[in-house]
Symmetry: C2
Subunit: 427 residues, 2 copies
C-alpha cells in the first residue's frame, strides 16, 4: 500500500496531549500498517519544559513556542489540546492561515468562537475537526455530520457530562446526598475541586451548542443555551423518581420544533425503560431521534486522556486523508436558525411541595395549577416533618405557565417550600 | 454553497429501495440545502413494473433491465438493494467496471464474495460502501473504518439480529416458551415464515464476517463463522439466567486473541449490568472494546425500510462527495489473519443437566468436570419431574475441554438430559 507521511504538530501536552503523543510514538507502526498513514510527531508545544508529562517525549520535539508550531510551514497538521479560549483561538487561526488543517478537542472555544473558526477553515480550504470536543472517545460528530447528513433529525438527548452523571448515579445507587456524592466524586478525581463548570451545567452547555451546530447546522453559542444545574436534586427526589418509574439524569436537549432550535441543559426525569436511563456512572451517551432512522444511541467514555486521544487520532487520520485528496472534507452548511425559548417548551413536569398538613391545602394548590392550565397526571402525599410533602407529575404543560405556577405557589401561606421542578423527557 | 448534481441508479425496490426512493423524491430539496448535493433519482430497476411498491415512483424512472442501469454511463452512483448473491454480484461488478461507486445493503453478498468485490472497487478506484449491511440504520461501519481507524480494537460484541433478540426478550419478559415467542414474532412480521436464517444464526454470521472485515481488516467469509442457533434455549434457562444475574442475548463475537481472529455467533449469558443486557426487543446494538477508547456501544434499529434507507442515504452522500474530490474514500488494508478456532476459546459456561435424584450423581458429574480441568464457580439443584435439574456456572475453561465433558456427561447413566450449554460473555 502507498504510504502517506504526515508531519504533526501538537499544541498542549496535558492528559489528552500526553496520551496522544504516547499513541503516536508507541503505536505508529501499527497505525501505518493499518491505514497507510505515517503520522510523524514533529513538535510538541508545552508550557514548561520541566513538567513531568513531557518526560516520555523525546526532548528534541519539545518547545515552549506554540506560535512557532502553529505557523511552521514544515508541519502538515496541527492538533490543539490546550483548552480554553486564548491562546488556543489565536493559535488555531494561525495554523489554518498557514494552510494546515486543525484537530481540536476544545468545546469551550468552539461553543464561543465557532463561527469565526469555521469561517477561517472554509477560507483556507482546510479541515477543522473536533470529534473529541463532545463525548470524548465516542464517535459522534462524524456519524452526525456524515452518516446522518441526509437525515431529518428531530431531537438529540445527551448525557454529555460524566461528573454529574456519576453524582446522580451514586445518589440513586446508595441513597447518598448530593453533597456526599459530590465529595466522593472529588476524592476519586471525577470532579474538580471547584465543580462549578460541571454541576452548574456550563460544560454540558458548551457541548450542547456544538451538537446544535453539527446535528442541525445551527449557529448557537454557549450563552444561548438554557442552563440549570443539578445542585437542587435531593435524595428524596431520587427516591420519588424511582417509585414513579423514572431515573434522574443530567441531560442536554437539542431539538427542532416548528423550524426553531431549542437548546437546554438540565436534570430530567427519564423513564426507567428508556435506553438513557441505564447509562450509569461516568459514562456518556447521546440519543438521536430522526425521521427515517428512528432512535439511535451512542455510548462510551466521555472523558479521560486515552479515550479522548483516540477521538483525536481518528480526526488526525481523516484530516491527513483529506489533505492528500483535496484539502478538506465535507462541512455542512450553517444556518441562522431562530431560537426557541425554553418559555415555549411543552413538557410534563415533576414538582414537589412541602406544605402544612391541614385541610384545604391541596385545594389551594390545585387551584393555582388549574388557573394556569396545568393538569395533574398523578399526585402522592407523604408525611414530612410537621407537615406533608406533595409529589406531582403533570400532563404536558407550557413552561411559561409552569413558572407562573411556581411564583404563585411560593406565595401561598400553606406552602412551606417549593422543592424540585424537574422536566420529564423521553416518555 | 456550490451544488453538486449526482445521478443515482437504484437496483431493487423492496422495503429498503422503496423507502430510499421516497426519501430522494420527497426530501431532495432539504437534503440539497443541507449538504450541497442534489441527488437525482434517474432509474429504478424492478422485477416487475406492476408491483405495488413501485406505484409512488414516476413511471418513466422504472425499468426491468437492471443490467442496463448498472452499466449506464449517464449515471454517477449505483445503489444495490436486491439482496442475495446473484444477480447482485454481477450487477455490482458491472457498475464498478463502468466507473461508478456502489452503495449496497447486501450482507450476504459481502460475507461470501467480499474479497472479489473490494478488489474490483480498488481496481476501479471507486467506493463500495455498505453501512446498511450491518445493524441497519446504526452508523457503525463508518465509525469503525474512520473514527476508529487508528484504534487497537480487541473485541466487538454485537446484537445484530433483531428477530432473535425479540424472541429472547419476549421469553424473558413474559415467560413465553421459544415456540410461543417465535410464533408471536412471526405474527408481528418480525420473523419470516421460514425463520431458519435468523434463528439458526446465518444472518448474524454474515454480519459478523463483515464486522471482522471492517474492525480487524480480516478476510473472513460467512462459512468461517462458528455458528449456533437459539432454538435450544428453554424458558427454564431464562429463569435460571435471571436468578444468576444474567440475561440471555443472541451475540456475534469478533475478537483478536494473540494475533488470530475468532468469529462466532451464539446465544450468550450477559451480566445484567452490562450495557448489552438492556438492549431489548428488536433493537440492535454493537459493543466495541478498544485499547485507548475503552468501551463503546452503538444502539438503534437494525432493520426496517426507513432506518436502512437512512444508512444507504448516508453512504450515497459520501460516495458522491468522494467522487467529486478524488474518486474513493479510505479503505483499510485487508489482511489474511489466522483464524482462531472456537475449540481454543476460553470462557465461563452455564450448563444444565437433568439427572436422577439419587446419591452419588453430583459426585459422578463433578468427576467428569474435574477430569477435564473444568472448575465450578456455582451449582444449584432444583427439583424436576422424577429427578433433579443441576445448574452449573463454571470458571473460565477451554471450549475443547467443555465439549469433551459434554460427551462424557451424555454417557453417564444418571444423566437423563444434557440441557443448554451457554457461554458467559462480558463478565
Amino acid at each position: 500500500m502507498h504510504e502517506t507521511r504526515v508531519r504533526v504538530g501538537l499544541l498542549g501536552c496535558g492528559n489528552v496531549g500526553g496520551a496522544l503523543a504516547e499513541l503516536l510514538l508507541a503505536d505508529g507502526d501499527r497505525i501505518a500498517e493499518r491505514t497507510g498513514m505515517v503520522l510523524e510527531l514533529r513538535a510538541v508545544a508545552v508550557r514548561s519544559l520541566s513538567r513531568p508529562r513531557a518526560a516520555s517525549i523525546p526532548p528534541e520535539l519539545l518547545t515552549t513556542d506554540a506560535q512557532a508550531v502553529a505557523a511552521d510551514p514544515d508541519l502538515d497538521v496541527v492538533v490543539e489540546v490546550i483548552g480554553g479560549i486564548e491562546p488556543a483561538r489565536t493559535l488555531i487561526l494561525a495554523a489554518l492561515g498557514s494552510g494546515k488543517p486543525v484537530v481540536t478537542a476544545n468545546k469551550e472555544l468552539l461553543a464561543n468562537c465557532g463561527t469565526e473558526l469555521f469561517d477561517a477553515a472554509a477560507a483556507a480550504g482546510r479541515d477543522l475537526l473536533f470529534e473529541a470536543a463532545v463525548a470524548g472517545g465516542i464517535p459522534l460528530i462524524r456519524p452526525l455530520r456524515e452518516s446522518l447528513a441526509g437525515e431529518r433529525i428531530h431531537r438529540v438527548l445527551g448525557i454529555v457530562n460524566g461528573t454529574t452523571n456519576y453524582i446522580l448515579s451514586q445518589m440513586a445507587a446508595h441513597g447518598a446526598s448530593y453533597q456526599e456524592a459530590l465529595a466522593e466524586a472529588q476524592s476519586l478525581g471525577f470532579a474538580e475541586r471547584d465543580p462549578t463548570a460541571d454541576v452548574e451545567g456550563f460544560d454540558a452547555a458548551a457541548k450542547a451548542a456544538v451538537i446544535a451546530h453539527v446535528a442541525f447546522g445551527a449557529r448557537v453559542v454557549a450563552g444561548d443555551v438554557d442552563r440549570e444545574g443539578i445542585g437542587a436534586i435531593g435524595a428524596d427526589d431520587i427516591v420519588s423518581a424511582h417509585r414513579l418509574g423514572f431515573v434522574i439524569k443530567p441531560l442536554a436537549v437539542i431539538e427542532e420544533v416548528d423550524g426553531a432550535i431549542g437548546v437546554r441543559v438540565h436534570p430530567a426525569m427519564v423513564p426507567a425503560a428508556h435506553p438513557l436511563a441505564s447509562v450509569r456512572d461516568s459514562f456518556n451517551a447521546v440519543f438521536v431521534e430522526g425521521e427515517a432512522v428512528g432512535e439511535l444511541m451512542f455510548l462510551g467514555r466521555g472523558a479521560g486522556g486515552a479515550p479522548t486521544a483516540s477521538a483525536v487520532l481518528g480526526d488526525l487520520l481523516d484530516a491527513a486523508h483529506n489533505l492528500t485528496v483535496g484539502g478538506a472534507g465535507r462541512t455542512p452548511a450553517l444556518r441562522a436558525v431562530p431560537r426557541r425559548s425554553i418559555d415555549d417548551l411543552v413538557s410534563a413536569y415533576y414538582l414537589t411541595l412541602e406544605v402544612a398538613d391541614r385541610p384545604g391545602v391541596l385545594h389551594a394548590v390545585a387551584g393555582v395549577l388549574g388557573d394556569h392550565s396545568v393538569s395533574v397526571r398523578s399526585m402522592e402525599q407523604e408525611g414530612a416533618a410537621e407537615g406533608a410533602r406533595l409529589v406531582f407529575v403533570t400532563h404536558p404543560a407550557l413552561e411559561r405557565d409552569m413558572q407562573a405556577c411556581l411564583q404563585e405557589l411560593h406565595a401561598l401561606d400553606a406552602v412551606r417550600r417549593v422543592g424540585g421542578l424537574i422536566r420529564v423527557v423521553g416518555a
